[in-house]
Point group: C2
Chain length 422, copies 2
């Protein structure tokens, strides 16, 4: 545990002075083990270097955006070439049309696209489009699903009003009866059913979508005239080269995309079917940088790689190897260890670990062996990973499981996670 | 009027198929003269080339982001150098701290910063921070002021609910009595007064801030415990090297920034004083690309140029030359022509022009002479402009005023702007 960290400590101290809470949002390390670095200096392929130069095999992939490898030369060259000719201008380039054509050709349900910056922009435009289309207000959501940090879908109460959260009915993910009850509660005011492509909530076991749930969501939308929205911001392109629910044979009316379709360059999208096109043209939605040409060039290069290479089969194969190998090593060490979610987006949990003391200890052990895993959020694989990388992670895991086994009786409570016990 | 436009026409046709309304948001040309290009191919310095290769001296500057010149090599090199080392990663780099330090050192009221992507992210975080700080809900806004396209501040009704617009009281900009009445109407629930740094609403005469109005806003916030927010997304760095209201001696608690502080690279910011820091640390706000290192490197390079060069005095001087020269030429042609707003962000209007037929005709004439002006939105000057550029614009204007004078009796109504007559 003697990783150098003086640079990180110094930056944290300076950050305390000029950034609220020292860091905001999902990349704050406030809820990670104390030895996790807050600041990074470099990234290439599947690897990160923290501010002190410690090399890490990174299973977070920037919380998703790194799909094909950090600092991918071909994609970054596409970005730079376009940027040098003009990027944010007084209007878009033809790339916005090319990208809309390429993306809608890939995604079965999609006839049109609107490009934006945040994943939350795309989910908000979906909500507005559904309300404009139906002239109704109520949206059905699954409890605990993350659709962004804007007030309408915020998970913390601070700065959020009751009116921000109006016109929402919640159901349990994958529970058909609960979904039906929520739709019934919406009465004649149902504008949309929002669906995560799978249960990928933080802190809990992940769950694949129940096909009956997905089909029922589609039927209920068809019966009521509401729009079905699949929020693929997090999972998009790690499940399918299409909307993630296409695997179930269920096509939404709208799907939101973000994070990785330009391999880390800033762009998100709402894709929609022609049914919703008029409504999407009526709402006013925009942003200063939404017409930027360079991220669109990077997105075209990324989607080409997605179409033309077996990146998906590659990360699925690596994910299987990781899952099987970890299960074997946890079992050999006699540790109750759960792996849930798609193999390309795994979540790790330990049995009998309500305040995450096992998860924190094991994750810190992995970190000390050069592997960055997350103790309570789903992770992400990227196509720059190799079999050797997975084997490095498995070797680190074997030693970390053993260390955990030897320390089980002496683990301290994790004070910062005590809210989980409430 | 024989500018080539076949590429633009072809792209528009393709866009109709895959983009709602053919284009969305503020960069749609739906409300511009028919000969205005929708698509562009290149930009450098103060110039744009449209999709058909027509060169244009650009007075829109990407609606603000172009502060120092399109495709500025030094700033873009800073972007690229950082991008090649890692951009969107699993955490931020030390640049987030450096940028927060540099920005807060420049802006008098600011002690801390949160970086985001859209200008609307910054105004929304301001709203959430004010509500978290005061544990109250009501916000006072000026009628017609633009603070973004999110539902809470949307200007079109489609997809927006009454609840989205709850807890808002409106006043008339620059009207002290109206501001006082709005604050009184908020009762004991006032969370914030939002202020544009000047009246820069579309379609109407612009107006400088009344110092008494700004001071009264500050006093009312101090008296009630509410936070004063100056939304400097549009005007920031074109009025001052500080928050725009610093010119009036009025310091807000929060200021929102976007568009140009990385010279077109995608980043926005909320700056705040220590009074609001705890509340800002309590809200949860984030985005996939908010920690991107490359735009922060570009922002540091831009702010250095802002501090160390007379860019502001340069664009102010050019703006004066443009204003004086246009006034003289309009007067010589016997045309009633109004120029309002700061000289670095001018808005042009014609007298007796309720449906903008004069504005559209004159703007099209300017376009045909290689100068891109906007008939109803404020424009922007950039530091890459030269005296020769302004003189080119003045020569084009002289010919365009004459052409307008000769056509005054025969101008057709502008059908697409007839909503202005309602």
């Amino acid at each position: 545990m003697s990783r150098p960290n003086s640079q990180d400590r110094e930056l944290r101290e300076r950050a305390e002075a000029v950034i609220p809470g020292g860091m905001y949002g999902h990349q704050s390390t406030r809820l990670l083990p104390d030895d996790y670095p807050q600041f990074f200096s470099r990234a290439k392929g599947a690897r990160l270097w923290d501010a002190d130069g410690n090399e890490l095999l990174d299973f977070m992939c920037a919380y998703g955006p790194n799909l094909l490898g950090y600092a991918d030369d071909a994609i970054d060259n596409a970005y730079v070439d376009r940027m040098r000719q003009g990027d944010t201008m007084t209007g878009p380039t033809g790339l916005i049309v090319e990208l809309a054509e390429a993306f809608t050709a890939m995604v079965t349900h999609a006839d049109w696209a609107i490009f934006c910056k945040n994943g939350g922009d795309a989910t908000l435009i979906a909500l507005m489009t559904a309300r404009a289309h139906t002239r109704r207000k109520t949206v059905v959501l699954a409890k605990g699903a993350y659709h962004g940090a804007a007030p309408w879908c915020a998970t913390r109460p601070f700065g959020v009003t009751t009116e921000d959260k109006a016109n929402q009915v919640f159901c349990d993910y994958n529970d058909v009866a609960s979904l039906e009850a929520a739709v019934a509660a919406a009465g004649d005011d149902l504008a949309a059913i929002f669906a995560a492509p799978m249960k990928h909530d933080a802190f809990v076991d992940q769950a694949a979508p129940n096909p009956a749930y997905a089909r029922r969501a589609r039927e209920l939308c068809d019966a009521t005239g509401a729009l079905l929205v699949v929020d693929d911001v997090r999972a998009g392109l790690r499940i399918a080269r299409d909307c993630s629910w296409s695997e179930l044979g269920v096509q939404p009316d709208l799907s939101s995309w973000g994070k990785c379709f330009a391999n880390g360059h800033p762009i998100s999208a709402l894709l929609g079917s022609n049914k919703a096109k008029r409504a999407a043209s009526q709402i006013f939605t925009t942003g200063s940088f939404w017409y930027q040409a360079a991220p669109m060039a990077a997105a075209l290069a990324t989607l080409k790689r997605v179409r033309e290479t077996p990146y998906l089969e590659h990360i699925q194969g690596l994910g299987e190897r990781l899952r099987d190998g970890l299960a074997e090593r946890a079992s050999a060490a006699g540790i109750g260890f759960r792996q849930t979610g798609p193999v390309t987006m795994p979540l790790f949990q330990f049995d009998e670990d309500p305040d995450l003391r096992r998860g924190f200890f094991w994750s810190s052990q992995m970190l000390s062996r050069g592997v960055y895993v997350h103790p309570w959020h789903n992770m992400f694989l990227c196509a720059a990973m190799t079999v050797a990388d997975i084997d490095q992670a498995l070797n680190a895991a074997e030693a970390s499981f053993k260390a955990l086994k030897g320390s089980l009786g002496s683990l301290e409570p994790v004070e910062k996670m005590s809210f989980l016990l409430a």
